[in-house]
Structures are given as structure tokens and as C-alpha cells.
Amino acid sequence: MTPAPLFRIQDLHVRLRHRGGERTLVREVSLSVRSGQSVGLVGESGSGKSVSIKAAMRLLPRGTRAEGRIAFDGGDVLTLGRRELARYRSREVALIHQDPRAHINPTRTVGAFLTEGVVHTGQMNRAEATERACALMADVGITDAARRLHQYPHQLSGGLLQRVMIVAALLPSPRLIFADEPTTALDVTVQSDVMAILLEQIRERQVSMLFVTHDLDLAAAVTDRLAVMYAGSIVETGPSAEISARPLHPYTAGLLQCRPSTAEVKRLTAIPGRPVAAHEAGTGCSFAPRCPFAVERCRAERPHDRSIEGRTVACHRVEEIADRLEERAS
């Protein structure tokens, strides 16, 4: 029997109070991350991937309600008490944001930012924290760490600041890192550097990662497993390499088809229609209006997760269309 995963979301629903009623933001999301594993959560803007992360950190804004079960190391995150929640957030998990500059107090030095948290929670004293921060900064390729500690955020470039954020995330030795589009706000040339550093660090330290991105190719390249989200639900889950090689859900296939190729010059294709939000989806499959394979049943009935080829796919016709999808995607 395989051991229980480190982190597991089961049947998560997130609803937002809206004009007397409720709007669904995330529907029936289930996913798990094993110890040392990295999992990619891929989807368009508004597909609910960031909301899921926020729910996992208990950071949902007022007026939203999360239902279901989010388990970390056996404990239920949604019912953690004040102290346990603080401990979970500050020591067990860490969050790396898309925009590093917004998440650091601009009037404090980098050193103060890095050490304040771990010193305050009593994990280490100031000297130890400074020393460890310096060592980590060297690990993520920041030269002249001692000087950087005395600098202010505005004196650092975006790429450098994101490395500082990686240091901040690693400093309390968390077991799981949520990376919410950590390279999206960076310069293209810096993106791959920062991504490589992040990967190297989490592999070296055996830290698990839940990597949120809209870049399916990137996610497939850096993670062990993928979960593809559309309109607040996960439509396909499976090993990363297999998903990118042989997508089984029409949406995944559509995404893969859309990517530009450097091998040949061709017109960029797009999935027809526009992405819908979870609350706009009707009774049927939420992807049905844009799906080239949609039939009457797709529009009428919400598909359940089906297991096929070691993957989970939410599509009525997955068995029929699997081979045709592969053709289209390649």
C-alpha cells in the first residue's frame, strides 16, 4: 500500500456570496501531493487554480466559503485552530507569489524581511536566521548576500527579488511549497533561471511543490503529475509526461494544440469561444460549448471522473475520442 499523501484536497467546493445568492468558484476539486513530489495545477485565468491555493492556505477573502476536506499530514486544514493554523502557515507550507514586489514591505530591508518571521516564531535567533539566509541566498545564486541583506526591495531587480522570495519560502524549512505562477511576472530571460533554481532547491531538500501556472508546457516539464483545471473543476489528472504526450481530455488537447512551435511556421490556433467561469457553466460539461467532440449528452449531463490509462479524466467520451485527440495534438 502506498503511504498517505502529504497534502490532499478532497472534493473541495468554494462558493462566494453574491447578491443574495451564491456563486461557485471551485467545484469538486480533488488532488494530492506526495512527499517530495511536485504537482502542477494548470488552467486559464479564472479557472479557480489560485482560489484553490488560497483555500489551502486558508486565505479566502470574507464572503467565501470552502467545503470539502483539505488534509496536510493527516490534519484537516479547514478546521485548524488559531495557533495550529499559524504554525501550519509559517512552518509546514510556504507560498511563492507571482509578483514578488507586492509581497515585501518596501520600507524594510531584505534582511529584515527574511529574518523577521522565523525569529518571531522562535524557530531560530537573529544570528542563526541571518546566517542561514546568507547561505540560502548563495544557494539560489545571489552573490554578495551580506550586502543584499542591507538593501531595500526597490534596489533589487524582479528576478533577484523572486530569488529572495524563494529564500524566504525555504528559510523555515517547509515540507510543501505552493508556487503561484512564480515566474509569470518576470522577464522571459530570467524566467528559466528562477524556475531552474526553484526546482533545484526543492529537489535537493525533498520539499513537495504544488505548482500553479497557465503554462502547460512549463508545468509538464517541471512536475511529476499534472492536474488541468477548467471552469473551477479538474478535467484531467495524471503523470505530466503522459499528459503532454497523449492528452485525454479535449481541453488539454486544445491547450497543447495552441502552443507555438519553433520547428515550423504556422498560424497560432486558439480554442474557439471564451473560457467560462464555474458559475456560468450549465448543467452539462462546462467545456461542452467549446468542445469539437461535444454531443447531446455532454450538454445535458455533467461528466464524472473516469479512470483510464492510469489517469483521471472528466469526459463522457474519453474512450471514443482518445486516439483522435492524440492525432490533433501532435
Binding site: A86, S90, A94, L95, A102, I104, T107, G117, H120, T121
Partner: protein, 285 residues
Amino acid sequence: MAVTLGTAGELTRRRFASLGRPALIASTLVAGGLTLIAVIGPWIAPYDPDATDVLAAHQGPGARHLLGTDSLGRDILSRALAGARLSFAGPAVIMLISTILGTALAIFSAWHGGRVDRMVNRLLNVMFSVPGVLVAVLSSAVFGSGFWAPVLALGVVYLPYMARVVRSVAVRERHRGYVESLQLAGMSSWRICLRHLVPNVLPIVTAQGTYGFGSALADFAAVSFLGLGIQPPAAEWGVMVSEGRSELLDGALQQSLSAGTLIVVTVVAFNVLGAQLSSRSGGRR
């Protein structure tokens, strides 16, 4: 008066803010110089400000008494210099009270948001509607005239001005990502407010405090002028304007005029400086 933030006050403030760097330098020099006088005034006064000399009463400006003497023969220049201390001490304490309480209320309101924020705003609106000098006069009537009754009352009256301005900046800061990061790092709300939010709203607090200081000085002098604050024979500008009134009939303008001019110059200097600081603090767009 306390109505400086009404529509007309707001326009004046914009005008002050648009004056630019020369106004900043000039107002800093004037406000700084006057503050220095408030500190060292009694020591640089050429005469004892309370020494009467009936034989030298009612003198016009001259070589011995640069600004002349009053009806008791006291040197007006010495009284103006020495009186600066009391005239400044009043608004200083007023602003200290309103700044500390107002900032605390603003941060509290911004931090909790939602219902708490709405309640605080409503409370501030009620406080805004109360005329400042009237409250100070009432306070003196109930608790007796002197320094503390009007000062404590005006400290509360000036609170909403500080709270409203600081709250708007604090709300913006509170929703910046770094606050969330600090929460995730396990820090308590108290610590985040005191160590991060308060320092980050200090520029606007300083600007508003400076702006309010000028208005508070005018209000405090007004209460003394009405005979409910500082009592004669103590040297204070409001008292001097009041005492000089009887001499106006004799054509001796210098006492009321010099003290009145000092009040006006101080108010304008601090108002301009405050507007300049706030337009530079990034707190106002």
C-alpha cells in the same frame, strides 16, 4: 478654526500644495524659526515679559522697546517672544492627543474593515459635525478655564481629521500583499500593525499633524482670546490680542497687531508646510 477641511479648506489646501518647492523651503524656515522661538523665547526676550513699569506704559515702537509697551508698561516684544511657548504648547499637546488616538483608530478601522470600518466612519462623521471651538468653550465652562480643559477638548475635536486621512492610506497599505505575507509568516495582527503599518503611514501622519498644528494653534488662541483658556497676566498670543483690544481705541495697535500677525504667520506657515508634506508623501493623489 476647526473647519479647515471643509470644501473651502480643501481648496486652500490644494492651492498650498501646488505652490511647489519654494513654498516648502519658505514654510519650513518660518515654521522652524517660530518653533525655535517657542523653545528659547523666554531666554532671548530683552525684558522680563511680566515686569510692569507704569511710568513707561503705552509707548509706541522705539529704540528701547522695539514694539512698544502695553497699558502696564510691559515690553510687547518680550511678551510675544515668551508667549510663543504657551501658544505652541497648546496645539502641540492637542496634536499629540489627536495624532495618537486618531492613528490608532484609523489603523484599527483599516485592519478590521467591513462592519467595524463602517461603524468607525459613522462615528467620525458625527465627530466632524461638532464645531471645535464650541466644544473647547464648553469644556472650559465645565472643567474650569486654563491650559488643560480646552487642550483636551480640542485634542478630541482634531481626532477625526487625523483618523480620516490616515485611514484612507492605511486601508490601501492593509491590502498590499506584504501584509498577507507577514500573516503567513506567523506574525500577530498587533505586530504587523505596530511594526509595519504604522511606520508605513507615518509620512501622511506627519503631514496631517503639521497641517492640523496650525489650525489647532488658531483654535487654542481663540479660546484664550475669549478668556476661557490661558488667563492673563500670563503671556500668550491669544491673551495678548485680547488685552490689546482696549488699547485699540487709543490708537495703540501694536499689541493686538503683533500677536495677531504672529498667529496668522504661524498658521499659514504650518498649513503650507503640511500641504507640501502631504503632496510629497504620496498619501494624496
